[in-house]
């Protein structure tokens, strides 16, 4: 019987080793090199007029073209399908001349009718990007002037109009209409199919596993890395666990990864063959006060808390890969100023403000909500807890699922005392941030401060309606100062955007206006040398 046991153990060990197989080089195919991007977030709906988040937009940006595109750091708006444009004096009529050599993947020309159809579709569907223009643009206001000229007659002047156009992708009307069912604008079909003109076409689309992009050899705009360096395609592979992502990068199973933890980035930055992209981002981290209900409705208490916060600790938590906010506007936003007097830690001043509040001796407990599982946000809560203990204020740290946090923040009655929130503006126009402090934004997660200030609201409304930047600029300076004075939140920091990639990957171009993990896949290539 002992022989039997030993034999069985040996057989088991042999069978286990026989199955082992080293990871194969997977980037090389018969058509050329395929770059592999490891990301955590799926792409459930590809339709550019229905949904967007960073992973979805990264795919949309690769398959579709827009009239303009954000490039570079600081971000600039580069004409893409639009060749030139003209705007009237009050920024209510915008006319665009289109390039004439752009074609959709099936060979159809990208003309003014395609642009009109795409914008009408986006507005009529009333999802995804619609909010950007819905207040200013009616479907009837879009006019085809000739085959390659399109005009937008806005219902009222709106200077930031151009800054939103990079996110309005142009779809092929013929393909969409061909797949329309019961007047659905082809949404069912567009969920996992594409009708674009971008540098890539769709390859394999295995939901929740991988999304393959195939390079469009005949892309009308050509390839910036040169035909000889152009990749055959890109695979966006879903890897959810940061530990697994890191391991895949180290093993060479993926070429670029997003979403590693701060510690992971620190640990692999000196490894041979790994390059860390580390750039100042546009995503702000703030702790929103409920300015309508509870103790934080007291402005002196808010100021006391804002001056008790240890801001240096915010940077330490990100291992130095963050910069403090010097204004409610991120640095990359047009018109940003360093607001004088923006709170920094000063315990004497904090005690002074506390003495002027309704709670001069503290003795209160405040809730601090953060997204469950977001370790950095939890640690910031611990910093706050420690700092406020000196003011005899207790902090109750509450991890919460994101959907529940959004729901709680939809009204002043349910909004927590303090909520940690990351916000990424979708354009570089100052209105994209300023409007977060307007009454019309109440109910949105970034406006769960419910800050009330009629003068501020009027200034924001005025600034967004002016077309002359020289007139807008001083208003936005004023707006930034007014927001800081009201202390609707603790203005925290801008976390750096980071990616880790293998050193053979070239062409990475950062632009802060892109979303968190989003990368422009178009210029990437692999240096095989």
């Amino acid at each position: 019987m002992r022989k039997l046991i030993l034999g069985a153990v040996a057989a088991a060990a042999l069978s286990a080793t026989a199955l082992t197989d080293t990871a194969q080089a997977f980037e090389r195919t018969d058509d050329g090199i395929v770059i592999v991007f490891g990301g955590r977030q799926q792409v459930p709906v590809l339709d550019p007029h229905v949904r967007y988040d960073w992973s979805t937009r990264m795919m949309q940006q690769s398959i579709y073209d827009a009239l303009f595109k954000y490039v570079g750091d600081p971000p600039e708006i580069e004409p893409w399908l639009a060749e030139s444009w003209d705007v009237n004096e009050d920024a209510s009529v915008w006319t665009f001349n289109l390039v004439e050599d752009a074609t959709f993947h099936n060979g159809d020309p990208v003309d003014a009718e395609a642009v009109r159809y795409s914008f009408v579709r986006g507005l009529e569907l009333n999802q995804g990007v619609a909010w950007m223009l819905a207040d200013f643009l009616e479907p009837d206001g879009i006019e085809v002037v000739d085959d390659y000229t399109i005009r937008f007659n806005l219902s009222r002047p709106y200077a930031p109009f151009l800054s939103f156009l990079p996110w309005w992708y142009i779809v092929n009307p013929a393909e969409v209409m061909e797949n329309e069912v019961d007047g659905d604008y082809g949404t069912e079909w567009m969920t996992e199919n594409a009708a674009g003109s971008g540098p890539f076409t769709m390859g394999r689309w295995q939901q929740n596993v991988l999304y393959e992009l195939v390079a469009n050899e005949d892309y009308w705009r050509g390839w910036p890395q040169g035909e000889e360096n152009r990749p055959a395609g890109i695979i966006y592979r879903i890897i959810r666990e940061p530990a697994a992502q890191r391991a895949a990068l180290q093993r060479g199973e993926i070429d670029i990864a997003e979403g590693l933890s701060s510690d992971d980035y620190g640990q692999i930055e000196d490894e041979p063959g790994i390059v860390i992209q580390n750039h100042a981002g546009m995503t702000t981290f703030g702790i929103k006060f409920n300015t309508q209900q509870g103790p934080t409705a007291d402005i002196n208490l808010r100021k006391a808390i804002a001056h008790a916060m240890d801001y240096d600790a915010l940077i330490d938590i990100y291992n130095g890969d963050a910069v403090l906010q010097t204004s409610p506007f991120p640095q990359a936003i047009q018109g940003h100023i360093d607001v004088e007097g923006i709170p920094r830690q000063d315990m004497d001043l904090a005690r002074e403000y506390l003495a002027q509040s309704e709670y001069p001796d503290g003795g209160i407990e405040l809730d601090y909500y953060h997204v469950a599982g977001l370790e950095e946000a939890r640690r910031i809560g611990l910093v706050l807890l420690s700092n406020l203990a000196e003011l005899n204020i207790d902090v109750n740290i509450v991890p919460e699922q994101w959907p529940n946090m959004v729901a709680a923040g939809s009204s002043p009655e349910s909004a927590p005392d303090m909520t940690s929130v990351f916000v990424t503006p979708v354009s570089t126009d100052p209105d994209a941030v300023a409007y977060q402090y307007h009454q019309n934004s109440w109910g949105q997660y970034f406006a769960m401060h419910f800050y009330e200030n009629q003068e501020l609201w009027d200034t924001i409304s005025e600034a967004r309606s002016l077309s002359d930047w020289d007139e807008r600029e001083p208003l936005y300076a004023e707006i930034q100062e007014m927001i800081v004075e009201g202390t609707p939140e603790i203005f925290g920091m801008l976390q750096n955007r980071r990616w880790a990639h293998r050193d053979w990957l070239e062409g990475f171009q950062f632009s802060p206006v892109r979303f968190t993990g989003e990368v422009d896949l178009y210029p990437l290539w692999v240096d095989v040398e």
Binding site: M1, P44, V45, A243, A244, A247
Partner: protein, 336 residues
Amino acid sequence: MLIYVARRLLLLVIMLLGLATITFAITNIAPGDPARLIAGPNATESMVETVRQQNGLDRPLIEQYVVYMTGLVQGDLGRSIVSTRPVVDELLRYFPATLELVVVAMGLGILFGVGFGIMSAVVRDSWFDHVVRIGSISGVALPAFWFGILLQLLFAVQMGWLPISGRLNLVTLPPDPITHFLLIDSLLQGRFDVFTQALSYIIMPAVVLSFPCLASILRVNRAEMIEALQSDFVLAAKANGLSAWRIVTVYALKNAMLPTVSIVGLRFGWMLGSTILVETVFDWPGIGLYAVESALYSDFKPVIGATLLIGFIFMIINFMVDLAYIWLDPRLRESG
């Protein structure tokens, strides 16, 4: 016997409807506004309302329930608010991956659980027995996600023997779906390279998933085998000069299998439910992962669909275990 089967089937339908009702209630009572979440962070009220109307979320809860249950009895589980696709289609897309993983894990669990259980009982209190018992305790105690990451670090990163995650190499085209099991389909189509590749991908998640099950089977089987080996009929068999192999595998094992079959049945259902962590760590595209991703978006219908599917299979397995009991134990058969 037939009455017994009919009664159990009726009970199964009632329990499924009950499960659907409870899951529907829990998911809808939970805080969170899926429409707002799906509409996006900047969505206007009118946009949120559009999403609500499209998904029937603007109707009273009771009406939503009636519509859902009506659809359910017709095999319609509604649409995912995130992907906008029918939940049934998505479950069919993801389920084969989960089932393949669970079947392989269960196979490992039975093979090594029963095998080591027998060996451990035979050489009771030897060094082998002690090692196996310590291993079985670890199997129950180790958290799956932690164990999974450890295996990844060891076998994928350090040794480079196995791939980290996924089901197949990125540039390998999967075999045409026949059974939707990569291992079987690749063999059926003679694609042995794909078979070995699929095997190398499934081995780590299957080991992690099988470990607690293996440990349970092992412990139960060992205890039952020890009892069987000490019984009078084994003594009689020995006295009659039967070989040790025959006594263990034919006489003792059959008597020890009844509780083992029971635990295998229970563990199969448990495995289906616990694939969530394993699928997340290994990015295994199954229903566990699908349910988690949906829950994060408060996307209720896929969560209910996945729960019902797992519940249904759990009940069917239990039903089959009951039938197996009857087959294994003639006394139960006689009592009807």
